[in-house]
């Protein structure tokens, strides 16, 4: 079996947002929503801090679908539009999505976005990878782990573009992959582990 995943080294991540725009570009993500975003944890301002000057710290967390092993979103989806594929990715079949947004309520990470309106693109054409399907209003979308790229042996766009080399992509079922080795280390951080969704995306501290 294959269990594709991304590891993000939080120490190397400078919150530069390159992966945010890279994902938007690759996947033709319209204005007003993002599949991948970077939050400054527990801060009300980007690149803010936790604590009081000068006793402060900052964690920037790139946040996209965690491709959970036990995906809450997939369970609740009435039509099977959201599914876990045989490469271990959580995907959405837009043709099956009835826009009920059960999955959005179910996902603990708030990484799913909905086309509330007709998608509005700036620039006003379909940019990105031509293989990525164009979504219409009324469907939910999210990180696909760059299905169109990873299906063809390419690494996800956010991984390709991360200038800090903070992102590692690979197969968790292959014990020799770099990502498996990283996971075996003990300084792994799983987001909201107590939710039991068992994210495949993980963070190194």
């Amino acid at each position: 079996m294959t269990k594709l995943a991304i590891a993000i080294n939080l120490h190397r991540c400078t919150g530069c947002h390159t992966c945010v725009n890279a994902c938007k570009m690759q996947n033709n993500v319209p204005m007003g929503m993002l599949w991948n975003r970077v939050i400054t944890e527990n801060s009300a301002v980007s690149d803010g801090v936790e604590g009081t000057y000068p006793n402060i710290s900052r964690t920037t967390i790139p946040l996209a679908c965690q491709h959970c092993e036990n995906p809450a979103c997939q369970k609740v989806c009435p039509t099977g539009a959201t599914y876990k594929d045989d490469m271990g990715r959580v995907e959405i079949d837009y043709d099956k999505c009835i826009g009920c947004r059960m999955c959005m309520a179910a996902c603990p990470y708030n990484v799913r976005v909905f086309n509330w309106n007709e998608p509005d693109r700036d620039p006003g054409f379909n940019y990105g990878d031509a293989r990525v399907p164009v979504r219409s209003k009324g469907v939910v979308e999210k990180c696909t782990l760059c299905k169109e790229r990873t299906d063809n042996g390419q690494v996800p766009m956010c991984v390709e573009c991360c200038p800090m080399e903070a992102r590692v992509y690979g197969d968790l079922d292959d014990p020799n992959s770099e990502i498996s080795k990283l996971r075996a280390k003990n300084n792994v951080r799983i987001l909201l582990e107590d939710m039991g969704t068992k994210p495949q995306v993980f963070y190194l501290e």
Partner: protein, 406 residues
């Protein structure tokens, strides 16, 4: 059968409101759910609140009607028909709210071709369909006077009614991601279904009585009022349990409690606690007060509105604080967000229904009112008139006659 001109007037008004609602819904279909106040952070709103409310409201009717047969409570039997009409209309409205909330209604057939049996929403759609069928059968059989069938059906209807509320509760209660995640969610739903449903039924019965369609004796009003007081107490007890469980550990859930008690959803929470539980209970607790139609109706309306408030805080509180908190927050996906810049984001959830949403809700309610009026006109009045013709005539003005005694 002829409608009175007053009834006609009401029907026309309701019809116009319903038509405006439909028009607005078409506007929503064309422009997308972006015309509502929902967003990626607060992804469910008024429609789902109304859905929860109406699933609950539909319960009271069917439970009263079924109990009449299951527990053989003779005095409830005359109420069965109005109760089931009420219940049928409410469950239809609940279903409509779900459909209105769908972004991709054109693909709804996908549920049939590829159902995912672990989805609580799928279960809910199934039980609601069953429930609707039961209601309709009940309606038909009661109006036909098929006593035996009605009696047998009641044995199915009662558990299904309980199930509908439990399953609806599970749509929320099984979501570990949100504050809804609690085992008491189903009992809470059932309890509030019982009190709000019964309260609505009482209001409807009084209305039918006033309209001279069906008699609602004070004795019965007193009895139902007492029952309602009991249901309210049960509801309060469950909520108490939940709130205590949230508050006691002082951890995670206490934050949600703070939002309810002092934050964004506090007005709803406190209205429910005081206006929706405490006051109605006090009003209904007195044996004598229960004979006052004014007080009973006031209490009932308060209970219904209280439960509406409960739906609001129950749903919305969970959307306020995202689990992963940090700037810039969550990309909203709304019209405003599409203009870019800071409007793209929200750190925490907030929600305010828009005009189209309100108009659509009013339209659906009007449609419900219309359906209830017409159904009760045709099924009850029609039936009593036929029965009356057969010689078993009711007093010309049963309501007034009855009330006069109070």
């Amino acid at each position: 059968m002829q409608l009175t001109s007053k009834t006609k007037g009401i029907c026309i008004l309701l019809g116009v409101l319903a038509a405006i609602g439909v028009g607005t819904w078409i506007y929503q279909l064309v422009n997308g759910l972006g015309v509502t106040g929902m967003s990626n952070v607060n992804s469910w709103g008024t429609y789902i609140i109304m859905f929860m409310l109406f699933v609950g409201l539909s319960a009271g009717g069917l439970i009263v009607a079924s109990s009449a047969h299951v527990f053989n409570i003779e005095s409830f039997k005359p109420l069965a028909l109005p109760a089931v009409i009420c219940s049928t209309v409410c469950i239809c409205l609940a279903g409509m709210f779900i459909l209105i909330d769908l972004g991709g209604i054109v693909r709804i057939w996908r549920i049939l071709t590829g159902p995912n049996f672990v989805s609580p929403l799928l279960w809910d759609m199934c039980v609601i369909t069953c429930y609707l069928v039961i209601n309709i059968l009940d309606l038909v059989w009661i109006s036909k006077g098929a006593e035996e069938k009605v009696r047998k059906l009641s044995y199915v209807a009662l558990p299904v009614a309980i199930l509908v509320h439990s399953v609806t509760a599970w749509i929320f209660g099984l979501q570990i991601a949100r504050e809804w995640y609690t085992a008491i969610m189903a009992p809470i739903f059932v309890a509030s279904a019982l009190d709000s449903g019964l309260a609505l039924l009482i209001v409807c019965l009084v209305a039918l009585d006033r309209a001279g369609i069906a008699e609602f004796p004070v004795k019965l009003q007193n009895m139902l009022g007492k029952l309602l007081a009991t249901f309210v107490a049960v509801d309060a007890f469950f909520i108490g349990c939940e709130v205590l469980t949230m508050a006691y550990p002082g951890a995670g859930q206490a934050q949600a409690l703070a939002i309810m008690a002092t934050g964004e959803t506090a007005p709803f929470f406190w209205f429910e606690m005081i206006g929706g539980l405490l006051i109605p209970f006090l009003l209904l607790a007195g044996q004598k007060r229960r004979n006052s139609t004014g007080l009973v109706v006031t209490a009932s309306l308060l209970v219904v509105f209280g439960v509406f408030c409960k739906r609001c805080w129950l749903l919305l509180t969970s959307f306020v604080e995202p689990n992963m908190y940090g700037a810039p927050g969550i990309s909203l996906g709304t019209h405003a967000a599409q203009t870019g810049g800071r409007a793209t984001w929200a750190l925490t959830g907030s929600y305010m229904p828009t005009l189209p949403e309100v108009v659509i809700v009013i339209g659906v309610l009007a449609l419900g009112g219309l359906a209830f009026t017409l159904l009760s006109q045709y099924l009850i009045k029609g039936r009593t008139q036929t029965q009356g013709a057969a010689g078993e005539a009711h007093a010309a003005k049963p309501a007034e006659a009855n009330r006069a005694a109070v």
